[in-house]
Symmetry: C2
Subunit: 300 residues, 2 copies
Amino acid sequence: MLAVTILGNNSAVPAFDRHPTSQVVTMDGELFLVDCGEGTQIQMMKYKIRRSKISHIFISHLHGDHYFGLIGLINTFGLLNHLQDLHIYAPSPLQEIIEWQLKVARTTLPYKLYFHSITKEETLADEGKIIVKCFPTIHRIECYGFSFHQKKGKRRLIVEKAREYEIPVAFYDKLKDGADYAKKNGELVKNEWVTEDGPPGKTYVYCADTKYDESIIPHISDADLVYHETTYLDALQQRAADRFHSTSKQAALIAKKANVKKLLIGHFSSKYDTLEEFETEAREVFLNSELALEGVTYRV
Amino acid sequence: MLAVTILGNNSAVPAFDRHPTSQVVTMDGELFLVDCGEGTQIQMMKYKIRRSKISHIFISHLHGDHYFGLIGLINTFGLLNHLQDLHIYAPSPLQEIIEWQLKVARTTLPYKLYFHSITKEETLADEGKIIVKCFPTIHRIECYGFSFHQKKGKRRLIVEKAREYEIPVAFYDKLKDGADYAKKNGELVKNEWVTEDGPPGKTYVYCADTKYDESIIPHISDADLVYHETTYLDALQQRAADRFHSTSKQAALIAKKANVKKLLIGHFSSKYDTLEEFETEAREVFLNSELALEGVTYRV
């Protein structure tokens, strides 16, 4: 099951018990962290995220509300004697910022830290059941969105066919994995005779910080779930444009044009003490829009 | 009134709803921040600290649990359009770490940020009613404690004497400020004839992270309130020594030897889910010991 849990849904300044950006994408027990604003490790404890399961962290850009919590998390992993490799994907200056802070503290981590510099649209990771890609967005500084593609599911068994070929039940799991079956008489039963394509893999896309920009549509087209920022309500469209952010209606318009199944909206400005209006405005344009609320897990 | 409010009382890893180190020292409406672990700005909101009143921040050392929240606070001050100068006193590598992070985000602050590099025992600030000094402690890396000295109070008026010299009541406030009074006939009434010394100023000392070290005693002698770290209980004395930290009993012994009036203990290891035992152990050695609890303000 592919899902995303929101740890922080606010923009630059924490306010109204909303925190800077961070999300955990989970795929059958594997955890991928997306952005890591200040206090992310504390939010993880609050929402009982199994942080020891995190081995890949994706940082969209180097505005503090998206990464100031990373050094603390890296440090805590060390103190908790986390031994698993940790891979960080981010614009390149991050590596030096982190390494410098470790150096002045004379910290030696008990695990290996790998920095992967993001510079362009590409596939970042191909891990088990998931592929993670990135694409540039238009923001004040270099910034990337991330898409999580669940690989196609196992093949679906056509039981009556399998029986017809007298394949033992004990072999059914191998059939689902795509194996052919060799009968005792030497005859080969081809996998495609007794199975059919499994369900398509699901896709979740995190669009990071961005101004209204239709050039991201190819990256989110037909996605099952898309998170798009909505720093401002529609009335502040000019401010959004000036600051390279989006409004509720702009996020919804992108979702509509990209024919996505569902839209999550977040990255709310601390100007707003309540959020309902964001959902109302987005739904006027794209009905299946929902607020990204902290502590809530959204199944893709 | 001199007081200290605890924002974080835990050591390296946040745990059990305890946060990394940060405290606010207040003196008649002026706020001084001492250390700034991750999440300090969020703790400030929780405990309604008037962060706009902060213009001096003292960072004891560059272990993350004492400064990872600083860049977020500096950034937030900028976003909230704080205009007052901000002075930061810390070991020197901090300046470059902060400036680099501002640079990669292309952040221009609307206020002036002054870094003051601490390198030795000295007077750091002499602000209004308070003097702040620092002194080195023995820790794994360069580390400093801070002492806050309230200046002597106003002079105390001896009313019968003032009446004897026929000084008008309207001039009494000036007498308390130390002024002489010139009578109409030209006769001068010396201030010391009609006033006496005001109450002595109070002193609060923050001893930062330190192993058991009697060389700090001259800096805390006779202080009204002293905060000393107690990362471990007495049973882990060896671990405390190995890691350049102190135990409950060691903190209390220092307080006793320095003849301080009251001891606050904090910087608890995340090994401990409850804290009562720290207070019990400290009180066996120095009775006026108290746990530093988050959100609580201790009057000096």
